[in-house]
Symmetry: C2
Subunit: 120 residues, 2 copies
């Protein structure tokens, strides 16, 4: 680690054009953060199960809890995260709150993930 000064390659000039190009084309910090936050929401098997459930039907929190064998509280906490990411929406029907997928993005993203997993 000498060319790599301070463990950060500060002295290197070898591929400076590459480094510059990468820096130039890097999206804004905001977009990177938002993207990571979005995928983070998909990165939990409980939330994944909730999303698969919503593929089948619009459903209230209580049914969802029963279908997944989880407490109402745990499901509700996860639904809040999904709602904040605008992946699911809700409507009130009497005492119940019915959750549903906001749009087809969820299905598309998960399908792409499946394609990656299922190959090889």
């Amino acid at each position: 680690m000498a060319e790599c000064d301070v463990d950060l390659c500060e002295v290197r000039e070898v591929h400076q054009e590459k480094v510059s190009e990468i820096t130039a084309k890097m999206p804004e910090e905001d977009e990177l953060y938002d993207l990571a936050e979005l995928f983070k929401v998909f990165g939990d098997s409980t939330r994944m199960r909730i999303l698969f459930a919503l593929f089948e039907a619009d459903i209230c929190v209580c049914d969802l809890a029963q279908a997944l064998g989880m407490t109402q509280s745990a499901v509700s906490h996860q639904l809040r995260i999904l709602r904040q990411a605008r992946l699911v929406s809700s409507r009130r029907e009497g005492k119940q709150v019915i959750y549903f997928l906001t749009d087809e993005h969820v299905r598309t993203i998960i399908d792409k993930g499946r394609e990656h997993i299922e190959e090889d």
Copy 2:
């Protein structure tokens, strides 16, 4: 919370068909886990930045560290995670190890994420 016995809706029968259908169509635990693990890899802005860097060029660890302003160690740890998820691959060129995107899945998945973010 009475119909919802033990905080789990055990007594409810109201939407039992829905619950059954959801349970029936739920993917295997393995697939849910693998999917969540895959998206978890996308769910960190450092790894997101690494992936965007690799959109531009195949690159060695040292250049990557410089481009991102991170230590070589931190980058290397993240590259291991990306490699284990088969999102990136590597080849050795002399002293250096060059990293590159395994295939187009990464780009597709990130593009779908961007579509979701950029709407509304």
